[in-house]
Symmetry: C2
Amino acid sequence: MSKNSVSTAVTKLLERLFYPMPGINAAPRLQYQSLGEEMPQSTKTAIMIIGGAEDKVHGREILHSFFVRSGATDAQIAIIPSASREPAVIGERYREIFTEMGAKGIEILDIQDRAQCEDPILQSYAKSCTGVFMTGGDQLRLCGLLADTPLMEFVRQRAQRGEITLAGTSAGAAVMGHYMIAGGGSGESPNRSLVDITTGLGIIPELLVDQHFHNRNRMARLMSAIAGHPDRFGIGIDEDTCSLFEGDGLLQVIGKGTVTIIDPKELTHTNWSHIGATDPLSIGNLRIHILVHGDCFNLHKRIPIHAHFDHA
Amino acid sequence: MSKNSVSTAVTKLLERLFYPMPGINAAPRLQYQSLGEEMPQSTKTAIMIIGGAEDKVHGREILHSFFVRSGATDAQIAIIPSASREPAVIGERYREIFTEMGAKGIEILDIQDRAQCEDPILQSYAKSCTGVFMTGGDQLRLCGLLADTPLMEFVRQRAQRGEITLAGTSAGAAVMGHYMIAGGGSGESPNRSLVDITTGLGIIPELLVDQHFHNRNRMARLMSAIAGHPDRFGIGIDEDTCSLFEGDGLLQVIGKGTVTIIDPKELTHTNWSHIGATDPLSIGNLRIHILVHGDCFNLHKRIPIHAHFDHA
């Protein structure tokens, strides 16, 4: 993450007092800071929730952040490709990427059976690795294989304690909350049948994650999900975009697209409990933030902190 | 509009004090009132903004509301099919529907040239009719033919004074605000190039209308539009759904789908003015309401008023 969004959060909050709506007032002396600048990257461990289709060829910004936060050339990376029906292929793809970057050790934990999660060798690697990467595929398959296994418990606890960096992309992102969107549709008025909700891996329980978000037009399904679970944050992550958490309650955005926050704290009404599965949903008072690279969101204070505008 | 949402607005506000989140608390004695009930329809004139694809065959609820509010069997209806490239076909379709309902007089104002808007016969009908219906098609074509013509000025002023009922569906809905969405895309992170904005007919200037809304996944484009025009309300109307205005600042919803209100009053930030056309948009603090049949929204107070929950 850039220095803009992490280390100067307080500065930016002060700036907001002076320029509460810089985009609207369009003060000409404010200039958006180029995202192309090279800035030193934090090496702190993090939980990285990636919206799928992250760049694997060119800048590889998100994957490189994972590599750096896993220890860079000291990284011992575990790749969990179990969401995929072609785990060997997808596992090798990521192995090549992290090998090229210079990771010290890489193991593919090709779990295709829950019993493997009892394997002492796998457990030992889960205890000693510095970064875990969960690939895309089918989130129901991933949860079916990993949920409530000793292996996953090690990973979850170590990630929550900040001992490792844990990343998940696409299906690997979907599993991050206590509740998980298993599937759904688009092109309809918000309604209960538009989204299938089940239980995830509970890495950051308060989140209800959706991925490939605006790319696959999933706004209506995430709003529908939140109407039924208004004690969660809806987090919609676009492709090649990442919500990064350092354990301090601050979500940081990196990548090309947007992260959409649906905050139902002030919800005054929903008909969720009173209607049929395909009836249209009524929802009063959702608060929504669209965040881009460099923006943050404070989950405790429920406020967005936007990227730096330079004084030209 | 049903008695629930109009005449008992105060009662409902009081109810909200007692049951601030009925959908969440799910008090079992609350029951959603059937929408199928036959209730007397208001005959007051209105401006009706229809999300397209309104039912023309079965219940015809929205078109029947237009007919009743135009005077029912005393209605003198003007159909403006000018958005369409097949104005004769679409004009006849609506003529048949309103004839079947029993309208006293129906004229198709088949305007294909701005000069026709100077025609004293057409102007005379625009002055004497009781209801005007603008069909779907291309909103740019409709505005190109009608904007700032004497004919349209009669229609606009008479609608705003409550002398006639004015309805527009699809393209006929898009033109209702001062600003108009002329086109756009979906399946992308919100960005400025996702929406083309031009000038509409200014019937209800404070609205920025989008139609076929959730059906065509237009949430990102309307949010993008509002980021650039935060002094408007974003109103996204689903198909076979209508936002009805009686001139008292109350929007009422009728029909099968939802009406989405994007209220940017509390917007704290957008990068709209600082970024390139295809860069992702950052937007802080949008308030969003999803409304269904029977729900209202008070444009002055900026609060939703939700449909009645019966005490079982």
